[in-house]
């Protein structure tokens, strides 16, 4: 009898508690991963800055911008969309944010009357777009947690192939920028054709011909640029992937922290409810016992036949205060 309700609540508390343990563990794991991911992003920075410097120098040295990756299409027939998100969920709004931004780009392409080519990194985006019947050009999985340069190269090479072959005329890159531990922002960047280099190259030719123009190139500015641009594209994608990984872990940490807090709150609420239910049950039980005893007393027909006389009979407890002070009882009876 002792509370079917109480038993149910007890079971729910146990289940909330084990959920809390899981989310807490996930939170801690994400916390260490986010530190690692940030460290990797920092380690990758020197290469990115250096390669940009070299390109700037090349532009200043008058490298001609006729590389296929710099081709500015007259008309955009097909837009490539690279969406970088996670393989796993439970990361708050992380995946949804990227998916929403990608859909916006899709709509934008459609409005311009262009076709689209989806290049998806991460299982979640892939699931979403496949389920909705979108045409997926390429999809990659298993690189969202801790992307390597090899991963970035695989994706970047495929995208460059599509672009140079004229499969796509423009490529947009969507990823989550890691601004700080507290802020991550979904960002859309023009990936191809390279716009910055082009502007840099033209800006370089108007340069006043200062110290930078004295650069010596082997074999030639164009030759270096030819082999440098693909590396530059790879490095950019790699940087985006590292940012996305750090953002994913930071988002997951936050989401799991919220889940842990909620579980704690729910546990407290359920415990209170359970206690009041249990108290109610105990009160009811006492009432039943008292009621039963009084009914028994009524049966005997004697008004002086109190429960105490049964609990503390005079022949067993001669020293009991009730027995020693008959006035006390008389007074009450």
């Amino acid at each position: 009898m002792a509370g079917a309700k109480e038993r149910v609540l007890r079971r729910r508390i146990a289940s909330v508690n084990s959920t809390k343990k899981i989310t807490r563990a996930m939170e801690l794991i994400a916390a260490t991963r986010v530190v690692k991911a940030m460290q990797r992003a920092n380690e990758a920075r020197p290469y990115a800055t250096q390669i940009t410097t070299v390109i700037e120098n090349l532009a200043a040295g008058g490298a001609a911008a006729n590389h296929p990756l710099l081709r500015q299409p007259e008309q955009v027939n097909r837009v490539g969309i690279i969406a970088i998100a996670g393989d796993r969920g439970l990361a708050g709004p992380y995946n949804a944010g990227v998916i929403r931004a990608a859909e916006k780009q899709l709509d934008g392409a459609r409005i311009d009357g262009a076709d689209y080519a989806l290049i998806l990194c991460g299982k979640k985006t892939n699931d979403y777009f496949r389920f909705r019947g979108f045409d997926i050009a390429e999809s990659y999985e298993g690189m969202s947690d801790s992307p390597t340069y090899e991963d970035a190269r695989t994706v970047a090479n495929r995208v460059m192939e599509m672009f140079t072959a004229g499969d796509v005329d423009r490529v947009e890159l969507i990823y989550t920028e890691f601004v700080s531990m507290g802020t991550q922002r979904v960002t859309v960047r023009r990936f191809l054709p390279l716009e910055s280099t082009e502007s840099m190259a033209t800006g370089g030719s108007v340069d006043d011909g200062g110290a930078l123009a004295e650069f010596e190139f082997e074999p030639s500015p164009d030759g270096v640029l030819q082999s440098l641009l693909p590396r530059y594209v790879e490095a950019r994608l790699y940087g985006a992937m590292l940012d996305a990984a750090a953002s994913e872990h930071a988002n997951r940490q936050r989401a799991m922290k919220a889940a842990t807090d909620n579980a704690e709150e729910l546990k407290l609420k359920l415990t209170r409810e359970m206690n009041s239910v249990r108290q109610e049950a105990i009160t009811t039980e006492i009432m039943e016992i008292v009621g039963g005893a009084e009914a028994l007393a009524d049966d005997r027909g004697s008004s002086s036949d109190l429960l105490l006389d049964h609990l503390v009979p005079a022949h067993l407890f001669p020293d009991h205060p009730d027995q020693r002070d008959p006035h006390f009882r008389k007074h009450h009876v």
Partner: protein, 130 residues
């Protein structure tokens, strides 16, 4: 003033130090850098870059990449690079043998040629080339 040398791979900074002289191989041939060299950008060939430091020579096996020098600041940008101390000699030997075997079968195999150049660069950097 000595040269400031940095070896940077996409994933991290591999080496940083001062040097009096750096020897490298670009597509145009061998080139040496002394402090005060004019600004330079070149494409590296698979091979060994020798960095003369005060204590000796730091050899680096590079498989592809770029070299940039400006204001006595020399940067090696490389997708794949290994410091002499980090090279697995046995693996490099095995790779060289494999590459030679496939070259014996097909002399025009570009992959095998590249693999052979890489393995030779590794062995020569580690100082164990024949």
């Amino acid at each position: 003033m000595p040269l400031q040398v940095e070896l940077v791979s996409p994933e991290r900074l591999l080496y940083e130090g001062e040097s009096t002289e750096v020897l490298a191989r670009t597509v145009e041939g061998e080139i040496g850098f002394l402090p005060g060299h004019i600004p330079f950008v070149g494409i590296l060939l698979p091979g060994v870059v020798q960095v003369y430091t005060g204590d000796g020579i730091q050899k680096i096996a590079v498989h592809s990449g770029f070299i940039e020098l400006a204001n006595d600041h020399l940067t090696l940008l490389s997708d794949v690079a290994e410091l002499a101390g980090d090279i697995d000699v046995d693996r490099a030997r095995a790779a060289l043998e494999r590459a030679e075997q496939s070259l014996a079968a097909d002399a025009d195999d570009a992959d095998a040629q590249a693999a052979k150049a890489r393995a030779e660069a590794r062995l020569s950097a580690s100082g164990t080339a024949d």
